[in-house]
């Protein structure tokens, strides 16, 4: 079985984002970009399935600016076999919506015929939490979101999901789309020799036109603003003072 892992290049989770003064968006010029943390978890899971002999090939795909190549190379260095880069934007500020991403992924799935697609549960830039579910819908496949445990048994996947009430376990028919949550695994770091080797692994470059997908956005961003800042609070010296402040404020 082949596994397809979509990976997104996003602002590094340690970077404090700055909203542009004119309200046109967030400043992404010259900030550190990394692989979406959830996607590191899905790459790791795919590689573990391969190491366990349940998967023969791990294909990673990224859709975005040309520099998403670096993200793909990271995935290849972790152990993925092959990469597809779909260059869909020439400005990093021009993000592609989940619906368009899902349509491109569908075309790639039709071509590659994977038995499993492992997506991140959400990208930490836009927090849409949508792409995997949309791909499953377009394929007419099952979906298992927010996975904290995944087991392939025959032609089914048994998935434990992190939900509001606790954990839910379901069984879905393959082929399927699974979106991964934080506690599925701890992703490995790529070793230096593997980073060198990754440079020689195949990376195909495509465009949305190759797949006949229109990437025009459905949502227009009217403005981007800074959230209201909290006003500064005070430091208390003791538990007694804390209790009296809370009583004054009517909080207890």
């Amino acid at each position: 079985m082949k596994v397809l892992v979509p990976v997104k290049r996003v602002i590094d989770y340690n970077v404090k984002v700055r909203v542009k003064a004119d309200g046109s968006g967030v400043d992404l010029a010259n900030v550190k970009m990394s692989m979406n943390p959830f996607d590191e978890i899905s790459v790791e899971q795919a590689i573990r399935l391969k190491e366990a002999g349940q998967v023969d090939e791990v294909v990673v795909v990224s859709i975005g600016v040309k520099q998403s190549q670096e993200t793909l190379r990271t995935a290849l260095a972790m152990g993925a076999d092959r990469a597809i880069l779909v260059v869909a934007a020439d400005d990093v500020h021009n993000d592609i919506e989940p619906l368009a991403v899902a349509k491109i992924l569908k075309a790639i799935v039709d071509e590659e015929q994977p038995g499993l697609v492992l997506c991140g549960k959400q990208a930490i830039d836009n927090d849409m939490n949508a792409t995997g579910q949309m791909l499953a819908a377009l394929m007419g496949w099952s979906q298992a979101t927010f996975a904290s445990d995944l087991e392939i048994v025959g032609d089914k996947a048994k998935v434990t999901r992190e939900v509001d009430g606790g954990l839910q376990t379901i069984e879905v028919s393959l082929p399927t789309v699974v979106t991964v949550d934080l506690r599925l695994n701890e992703p490995r770091y790529a070793s230096l020799p593997n980073i060198m080797k990754a440079k020689k692994k195949p990376l195909d470059e495509k465009t949305p036109a190759d797949y006949g997908v229109d990437v025009a956005n459905r949502l227009e961003i009217v403005k981007t603003a800074e959230p209201e800042a909290r006003k500064a609070g005070i430091m208390v010296e003791s538990v007694d003072e804390l209790v009296s402040k809370l009583k004054e404020a009517g909080a207890v």
Binding site: L99, D164, R183, V222, P227, I234
Partner: protein
């Protein structure tokens, strides 16, 4: 203009708070029809009919709808979609599982976690862990939107909407429910509690998390946790507060042994009063705290329990 609202129904029961908050957001868009579905959903439908602002309730009962599996639930919503311009839900894990699937089947974008309604096409939503608020205008004919419950007040009761029973759509039969692991608790639910006490990595162990629970019980609070505390096994996953966990905005939020990473702040910084207890005076959590106490939690928390 008509709105279809997917009510939050768990094991036949209406999750009133989440649903009523979404109703507050939805009624700004038009007449609200609430859909209650499940293996049993009639009681939930009755409860839903009483929410102010609900004009009509649809009840669909079918074993296939029992555990809110995405495929049959999305199929049902899509079968009803023709009559509505907006399809909305509270942004729970159930809705986040189902709505993007509905949107893709309708060939429209989804708007996740909207925190404000500007007009029928335009919504506000937090991005980048709440560090920016984006206003987006949809060009789609149908709008599929989940609402962040922490930013809307719950609608009241007193309504008496008509309830209509409908049948489920054909089940694509792609998935099967196996089990739920739900911890029973007498404490209030995290996302609707008036007070939340959260513990972080500083608490140090699962045993010592009892300290946090004791303080919570003293305050009649729900218990939350940082990701580090959940990852370390001190607390269950459904207690995680933050960008990728639950978003809460209680009247009082007490953060104990939590450093205040932006991913954690994203889930609690709209709380009315924030208290932070941390032994490191440089901890970023103090920058958002109304009342900060630099102290060892192992002495401060028991003392607080005693003096409250």
């Amino acid at each position: 203009m008509a709105v279809l609202l997917l009510a939050e129904v768990t094991d036949g029961e209406l999750a009133f708070d989440a649903t009523a908050k979404a109703v507050t957001a939805a009624k700004q868009l038009g007449d609200v029809t609430a859909l209650c579905c499940g293996a049993s959903a009639a009681a939930a439908g009755e409860a839903c009919a009483k929410i102010d602002g609900v004009a009509k309730v649809l009840v669909a009962e079918d074993p296939a709808l029992g555990h809110r599996l995405a495929e049959p639930t999305a199929a049902l919503i899509v079968s009803l979609a023709g009559d509505y311009e907006h399809i909305v839900a509270p942004a729970t894990t159930d809705a986040k599982n189902v709505l993007p699937r509905v949107a893709a089947l309708l060939d429209v974008m989804v708007i996740s976690d909207a925190s404000g309604v500007v007009d029928g096409d335009t919504f506000e939503r937090p991005v980048y862990a709440g560090n920016a608020i984006q206003t987006v205008r949809s060009k789609d004919a149908k709008k599929v939107v989940s609402f962040r419950t922490s930013t809307f007040d719950a609608a009241g009761t007193g309504g008496s909407a008509a309830v209509e029973t409908i049948s489920a759509a054909e089940n694509p039969a792609l998935s099967e429910w196996i089990e739920d692991k739900v911890a029973e608790s007498d404490r209030p639910e995290l996302t609707s509690a008036g007070v939340v006490v959260s513990g972080g990595r500083g608490v140090g162990s699962e045993e010592d998390f009892a300290l946090i629970e004791k303080l919570a019980d003293k305050l009649g609070a729900a218990v939350g946790a940082s990701r580090a505390a959940v990852d370390s096994g001190y607390a269950p996953n459904d207690w995680q507060v933050g960008q990728t966990g639950k978003v809460v905005a209680p009247g009082l939020y007490v953060a104990v042994g939590i450093s205040g990473a932006i991913q954690h702040l994203a889930g609690m910084k709209d709380s009315k009063i924030i208290v932070a207890i941390n032994k490191d005076e440089e901890a970023p959590i103090f920058q958002v705290a109304d009342f900060g106490l630099v102290a060892d939690l192992f002495t401060a928390v028991p003392e607080l329990v005693e003096k409250l």
